[in-house]
């Protein structure tokens, strides 16, 4: 569940928080392009990863970010191990001192680092952007309102669901359910009494919410008006321009082979 901590918006008043979500999306997009399409080795990945940190400090969400990364570290380790084993399999298992071994190790490390860099980038976006602002940004980027709303509501219900899972677990434990009991398969089966009520009550809630929304005239008029509109300020333009300029420069340097792949 720790991974999700990086998705909860934390209300603060910092420059990162005040930036228009669209400007922050430009940043996310830049890092995504650099880490997936432009670079493939460990060293640039580390540089990209480090570049995320000042923004987290500025947005005062560093602690949250670190706990997200701790949650993501497990997955990153999996990515690393499977990549590494896969590559070793292809070249045949070689001695750790041979250059082939390093050739299998470094790209696997890069893969794991790429994953962490992406998590960190997206996490900063969500930590400093309120779901409402994000939905509004999506709408102003011409995404149909229904889709934007679906997304905000999904985000809104993550904590609710987590709380509910706790209550359900408590209720079943009170009836003698022991999650840690039995072999591997039995342990998985132990979770059925928790998952079923959770899923059923989610469906029930979805239906109630749909009814409540319709009774408040959701979708009554084709053209919706909004109470708040996002405005792209000078600082947003500047931030986006800097992101694009740096990214373009890095790509140019890479293409002219001044930078490693």
């Amino acid at each position: 569940m720790r991974v999700f901590e990086g998705l909860y918006y934390v209300k603060r008043n910092t420059a990162m928080h005040r930036l228009d979500p669209r400007a922050k999306l430009v940043y996310v997009l830049c890092i995504t392009i650099l880490s997936t399409a432009v670079f493939h080795t460990a060293l640039p990945m580390i540089m990209l990863f480090i570049s995320v940190i000042p923004l987290a400090v500025e947005g005062r969400v560093l602690r949250r970010l670190l706990s997200t990364l701790r949650g993501g570290a497990m997955l990153a380790a999996f990515i690393f191990i499977f990549n590494f084993i896969g590559r070793l399999w292809n070249i045949g298992f070689v001695s750790p001192s041979s250059p082939e071994f390093l050739e299998a190790l470094m790209p696997s490390l890069a893969m794991a680092l790429r994953f962490l860099t992406l998590i960190a980038t997206f996490s900063i976006f969500f930590l400093t952007t309120s779901p409402d602002d994000f939905a509004q940004a999506l709408v102003q980027m011409r995404l149909p309102y229904d889709y934007a709303l679906t997304f905000t509501m999904a985000m809104r219900f993550i904590p609710t669901l987590a709380r509910e899972a706790q209550i359900v677990a408590d209720a079943q434990k009170s009836r003698g359910l022991e999650l840690e009991k039995g072999g591997f398969m039995q342990r998985i089966r132990n979770y059925i009494p928790i998952l079923v009520p959770l899923i059923v009550s989610s469906f029930r809630r979805a239906e109630t919410i749909a009814d409540a929304m319709e009774s408040r005239a959701f979708g009554a008029s084709k053209k919706r008006s909004f109470l708040y509109m996002l405005r792209f300020k000078l600082s947003d333009t500047l931030f986006s321009a800097i992101c694009i300029a740096i990214t373009a420069a890095i790509i140019w340097l890479r293409l002219s082979s001044f930078l490693p792949p």
Partner: protein
């Protein structure tokens, strides 16, 4: 039976929800825990079967310290029925739902069958035996949840808001059932803000407000304490409210429906 000694509790990264609670629920007693929303009622009873462990202080259940025993072993003695049945119903049929706890506690197959049939009959659920619990009404689902705990006959039964969503007839039946359990020697604790239900049926009450005990003792005495009720955001039972109004008119009937009606008629004759 249940002994709470200076219990303080807080969830991680939050303020104290329970602040120095001390109380004792003796064997074979019938107790209500009253209090406004967020008073800490549910948090308190979750300590009774070890779901929550005290941050400070101690909770003893049948002499066992809850910090040293698993929920499963404590739950065998203290049955906790949650407020919302939808947080626990999961089986394909009402029968399986009720049998769940019995199987967890390792009752033999024959005994499971006998107990489930008996409790379904007692709670008038036998005709739903093979139906999905999800297709029942809210009131019925609540009874299935109750049956699924009652069936293993814990020494202490704790019910969280058992009267919500029940019509008057079902409330009366619930009251009868709980009284029967007390008569059989069980201890029953009811968490609620249904003041009328408590006034009519439960002799002893504990009033909780903002994580602290504000009053404990005989229900009727507590519920006629005007200052206490105002402080703890509780409304007096209707009969009590009428008694207060009548006493302002100089009439002091005994707290029974007949006497009050008599006094009201008298008040009407007096007024011009």
């Amino acid at each position: 039976m249940i002994e709470v000694q200076d219990l303080w509790f807080r969830y991680p990264e939050s303020d104290y929800v329970l602040k120095g609670i001390s109380l004792e629920v003796p064997r074979q007693s019938y107790v209500a825990i009253l209090g406004e929303n967020g008073a800490g009622k549910t948090t308190l009873v979750k300590h009774f079967n070890g779901l929550l462990k005290p941050t400070r202080g101690k909770v003893l259940v049948c002499g066992l310290d809850t910090r040293e025993h698993s929920v499963a072993s404590l739950a065998r003695r203290v049955g906790l029925v949650f407020q919302n049945p939808d947080h626990q119903l999961f089986a394909n049929t009402v029968y399986e739902e009720v049998a769940f706890a019995l199987k967890n506690f390792g009752f033999p197959e024959e005994e499971v069958k006998r107990r489930v049939e008996a409790i379904l009959a007692e709670l008038e659920l036998d005709r739903y035996r093979d139906r999905s619990p999800f297709l029942l009404s809210m009131g019925e689902r609540k009874r299935v949840a109750l049956a699924s705990v009652l069936c293993y006959e814990p020494d202490v039964l704790v019910l969280d808001e058992p009267t919500t969503g029940q019509d008057h007839k079902q409330k009366e039946k619930l009251a009868e059932l709980l009284q029967r359990l007390v008569d059989k020697g069980k201890t029953v604790v009811v968490v609620t803000h249904d003041v009328e239900f408590v006034a009519d049926h439960i002799p002893i009450s504990i009033i909780l407000s903002r994580g602290q005990i504000r009053g404990q003792g005989k229900t009727l005495e507590l519920l006629s304490n005007e200052d206490l009720l105002a402080e703890t955001f509780l409304f007096p039972p209707q009969l009590t409210a009428i008694l207060w109004k009548l006493s302002k008119l100089g009439l002091h009937p005994a707290p029974s429906v007949e006497e009050v009606v008599e006094a009201m008629l008298q008040a009407r004759r007096q007024s011009p």
